[in-house]
Point group: C2
Chain length 426, copies 2
């Protein structure tokens, strides 16, 4: 991953000042990593270095048979966004993953149809049901409805279910009691920081992705994110840049991904930023109603949808342009069916066209003097995705520190949950 702050509108001097401001927190992160374990709020940075990986992989291997065709991930928010981000991004898909997050007859029917029409026996699928607490309405509803609906074609399928939940939670305990396979997750690791725990790694490993490479990328990002040298500490630099622009009124953070397969990666970041820094109260308990609204744009799709607003409308956004190095796959022939419609098309590859578009958009942001950060992935690979995910999580810890809020709680979501439960009782 290459990151460039050249057009960020933030000077080296400003970055130096920011680094000083964050120095004690950076040292705290270093100490969390040196200490290891999973007791600190920031302990998710220890996941990529943890030995828990072996147990996860061993269990995954047991389910990763030649027969396996589909993995259903039942989970919502932090329990599925990271897994889906990696799955949607990567091309090779020997096993299909299906995701059930919200409660929707339409979505449920699609998943059920795939599991019943296209498969012959229950060894061809695995269901992974993920809830930190076991108290997530949607996840429990989808799990019960799916187990019930699959009884008719496949009989008892509790041996095709793996539960992932907090160590010692009632969901884990109930699974244990019924001899349903289960994996624990670290209680102190919040959902939005859990992609490198069993939550993300187990389903991805079962589906055949190289989780070693994912974790390798994540390790490098933790190391870079703890560096004292600000010029190399991407997480710290990016956090400060986002913060500085939010202070100047750019309260929308636009991740502009120039690769449509990265849309889910953008959605994973929406949760990370939305929940980590959108807060009613600051660390001193004062009412602040602070936050930055994360949005996701896809290049070049959204150039034909949102670019008019971005280039002509109010200057209220700070943009991260995320692109992938061109690898020249699909090509346009030399002899066209419709010649002279668009100049210079013959013999170009689709990836070259995308690179030209990224260049055109970058130049336009520069011309309009709208600030942006450039992030380039070498390729859409496990290693680069692992780096990106971990880079963003460390970035968010620094950003919360700058905004003086708790990066790890989500108190405002309790209200609607209570209101929903009242209505369920009726």
């Amino acid at each position: 991953m290459i990151i460039s702050t050249k057009n960020s509108g933030i000077s080296a001097k400003e970055l130096g000042t920011a680094a000083k401001q964050l120095e004690s927190y950076r040292r705290h992160l270093v100490s969390v990593q040196e200490k290891g374990g999973f007791d600190d709020l920031e302990c998710s940075i220890n996941l990529p270095f943890s030995t828990h990986l072996d147990a996860i992989l061993e269990k995954a291997e047991a389910y990763r048979t030649k027969q396996l065709k589909m993995v259903v991930v039942i989970g919502i928010g932090g329990s599925n966004l990271g897994t889906q981000a990696v799955y949607d991004a990567l091309p090779q898909k020997s096993v299909e993953m299906l995701f059930l997050d919200t409660v929707s007859s339409a979505r449920f029917s699609l998943v059920l149809e795939k599991l019943t029409k296209h498969l012959k026996n229950k060894k061809q699928f695995l269901i992974v049901s993920i809830s930190k607490s076991g108290g997530t309405t949607e996840t429990m509803a989808n799990t019960e409805a799916l187990l019930s609906a699959l009884k008719k074609p496949y009989g008892d399928i509790r041996d095709r279910l793996v539960v992932i939940s907090d160590d010692g939670s009632k969901f884990s305990e109930a699974a244990k009691k019924q001899k349903i396979d289960h994996l624990g997750m670290q209680t102190k690791v919040g959902g939005r920081y859990s992609v490198f725990s069993a939550v993300g790694l187990f389903p991805l490993a079962v589906a055949g992705f190289n989780v070693h490479k994912l974790v390798e990328g994540a390790r490098a990002a933790v190391e870079d994110g703890l560096l004292g040298d600000t010029t190399q500490n991407h997480a710290l630099v990016s956090a400060h840049t986002t913060y500085a622009h939010a202070k100047k009124g750019r309260s929308i953070h636009n991740t502009f991904l120039f690769a449509p397969e990265l849309e889910s990666l953008g959605k994973w970041y929406r949760q990370l930023m939305g929940e980590s820094i959108g807060k009613e109260k600051d660390l001193d308990g004062r009412i602040v109603h602070t936050g930055i609204t994360p949005i996701v744009s896809i290049g070049s799709t959204d150039l034909h949808s949102m670019a008019q607003l971005y280039f002509g409308g109010p200057d209220d956004k700070f943009t991260n342009i995320v692109s992938v190095q061109a690898s020249a796959h699909v090509s346009i022939p030399s002899k066209l069916v419709f010649p002279n419609m668009v100049e210079h098309l013959p013999r170009k590859s689709l990836d070259e066209l995308m690179s030209a578009i990224v260049g055109g958009v970058t130049a336009t942001y520069q011309k309009l003097k709208q600030p942006f950060l450039s992030i380039e992935l070498e390729a859409v690979s496990e290693k680069e995705l692992g780096y990106y995910l971990q880079f963003r999580m460390v970035e968010m810890m620094y950003l919360a520190q700058l905004m003086h809020v708790n990066a790890f709680d989500q108190p405002a979501v309790e209200g609607y949950k209570a209101e929903t439960k009242k209505r369920l009782f009726k």
Copy 2:
């Protein structure tokens, strides 16, 4: 469609004043409709009443054979967003639609694989290539690359291609010259207002959707949107409500759709709002850099991702809660595998749970005194979708009027296109 302004924070008196302000524009819309034809800027409101529908349906019928399995729509922005919104929303899918919008090797390979691995002969697919001007880089690149890639398995497939472009455009002319089938679109109808032209209706009709019902819904929305009685004119009321909150600093418009299959409908609206009112200059040529940033949220998925920000963060959003009346499909059994995890689950349907969640979220917005508009669809059906799409297009014309900008141009997108072309030339 039922719309409620009860919690919009706008009084009946304010609405009355707004209606007076918009009265001359409303009369203008009435005159555009009475006159008919496609000469006025607002002429897209005449599409649902136009006789062009017969020609579109006749051509669609010719391609709608029993053999047909897949329709590939090549188009970007206004050329595919409406079609995809309807396709993704509706359950019955006798024919699969594939969408190629941006230039992406990853996406292209997926579409190519579907067309070559799963089909036996070229009569099983149809390609619809849509570009108003014929000058859209992505659309021409994908069209050329696909025709070229399909040559090997299927030979010359120009008889499996239908071109949709402005009447008299060079794309139309090139198609005519090569005897490639083509359909015209009305030159004055902009891409984001074109879903009820051949652009949307032809591919949807070929894929087997009931476009009569779509158009029936749209007609009702035009009629309601021209009513002088503000209490019944949803489009005018919604436009004013959005405008009033934007003036108060709520510069983000959040369409919160409590049905995951409506996500593409939300994305269609992003273009409609982003391009129609995100403007550098107002109608008098003054530099204003105005606009509202449209975002799309999915219930209940984004409650586990963005709700912390929405409920705890800054009060900078005006929300439209869009829900669908529960129809009780999939049910949770009375005997659970994991009892006592979530209360009151047994025998509930997934749709009932979603209704309880909508109720819980609505109550929370009320408690927090955050304004919102409630929109309820009777069902996800062609008729309701047709109404919603047309309601939003008339709403946007009123909203642009209130913001004193041109709802129909997009001058700011020319800059990056020129910059991109420079790079293609290299």
